[in-house]
């Protein structure tokens, strides 16, 4: 009897299913908390270094270049598309009915950017396109990044 023979009855082969229990909470941190609370009110903030003037978005509590403190500044939330990708599959690789566009958007008045959904036709999007955010209705905001529904061409 040789045991590296071919498997003749695949129904006799077994597999074992399992689930890994995992639950986590990610707190936004000092600057992130400030940002999401402002977002809930419909405002956008960034953090400006008091020393070198670099403007961080998302906001940070201190500058990573000179380690000095930052101060929060209001920004419009509008910006310019730096790069984008068109997704035709969802995260489980199932085809999407309508393709989704994800863009890196350079925000006006900051040195930072945001990655978010862009509501436009794939053929109309281009690098350098001006876009603005569309927020959820005020009573439905939760202080999360999903409070921004999407960006749209302005």
């Amino acid at each position: 009897m040789v045991f590296n023979e071919k498997i003749v009855n695949p129904t006799e082969l077994r597999h074992w299913e399992g689930k890994i229990e995992l639950y986590w909470v990610y707190t936004s941190g000092s600057a992130g908390d400030e940002f999401f609370k402002a977002l809930k009110k419909g405002k956008f903030i960034a953090a400006k270094c008091k020393e070198c003037g670099k403007v961080y978005f998302p906001p940070r509590i201190y500058c990573e270049y000179d380690f000095s403190e930052t101060e929060y500044v209001n920004i419009s939330g509008e910006g310019t598309v730096r790069a984008f990708t068109v997704a035709r599959l969802d995260k489980d690789e199932k085809p999407l009915e309508k393709p989704e566009i994800y863009a890196i958007i350079d925000l006006d008045g900051t040195d930072g950017c945001i990655v978010h959904l862009l509501n436009a036709k794939p053929e109309d999007v281009y690098v350098g396109m001006r876009v603005k955010p569309v927020l959820k209705a005020k009573n439905k905001r939760e202080g999360r990044i999903t409070d921004i529904l999407y960006y749209k061409p302005s």
Binding site: M1, V2, F3, N4, I7, E12, L13, R14, H15, W16, E17, G18, K19, I20, E21, L22, Y23, W24, V25, Y26, T27, S28, G29, S30, G32, D33, F36, K37, I61, Y62, E69, G143, R144
Partner: protein, 175 residues
């Protein structure tokens, strides 16, 4: 969860911002939570598949290598010493000897158990020395367990068996 100010000297921004559970519950701070659905399937392979199917019939099966003469349990399809495919299937007994054991007072999620459980490595009679499986002991108090104790498998009823290692409910002392 809360990490307070320690008795150390550091700049104010390095102290951090302590957060309590209630800050999260009351929505004082923003956060994101998730419960990822991490599922997996482990394919048992030829040897363990047969082992599981035999468990359903109330039997323990091992494999044999004719070159070194070892009877390997749990079964495998390849002899790791002789580096060759195994030669035969053999049944082993559902009795054995405790090789080592541990008394556990907590469950897999680290919650306290009402009664401690005793997990043990059991060398099964009929297999070569040092061939054993890990299982749970029953009908015995933690203080009475010892290395070298003879045990016997207590099986589920035939209709309840599903071809899983839990088809053996536990191992109880004999003799």
């Amino acid at each position: 969860m809360a990490v307070g100010k320690k008795d150390i000297s550091c700049p104010p921004e390095a102290i951090g911002t302590p957060i309590k559970d209630e800050d999260l519950k009351k929505g004082k701070v923003t956060y994101y939570e998730d419960y990822p659905d991490l599922r997996y399937a482990w394919t048992a392979g030829q040897a363990i598949s047969r082992f599981l199917n035999e468990l359903k019939k109330g039997r323990l099966i091992a494999t044999k290598c004719n070159e070194c003469g070892r009877i390997m349990f749990p079964p495998r399809i390849f002899c790791e010493l002789c580096f060759k495919p195994i030669d035969d299937w053999v049944y082993v007994k559902d009795t054995g000897v405790v090789q080592t054991f541990s008394i556990s007072y907590i469950d897999p999620d680290a919650r306290p158990l009402p009664e401690p459980i005793i997990v043990a490595v059991i060398a099964v009679d009929g297999a070569s020395p040092k061939m054993g499986i890990m299982h749970v002991l029953g009908e015995v108090k933690p203080e009475d367990v010892y290395i070298g104790m003879k045990v016997k498998a207590v099986w589920k009823d035939e209709e309840e068996r599903e071809g899983a290692i839990t088809d053996i409910k536990y191992w109880k002392p004999v003799g």
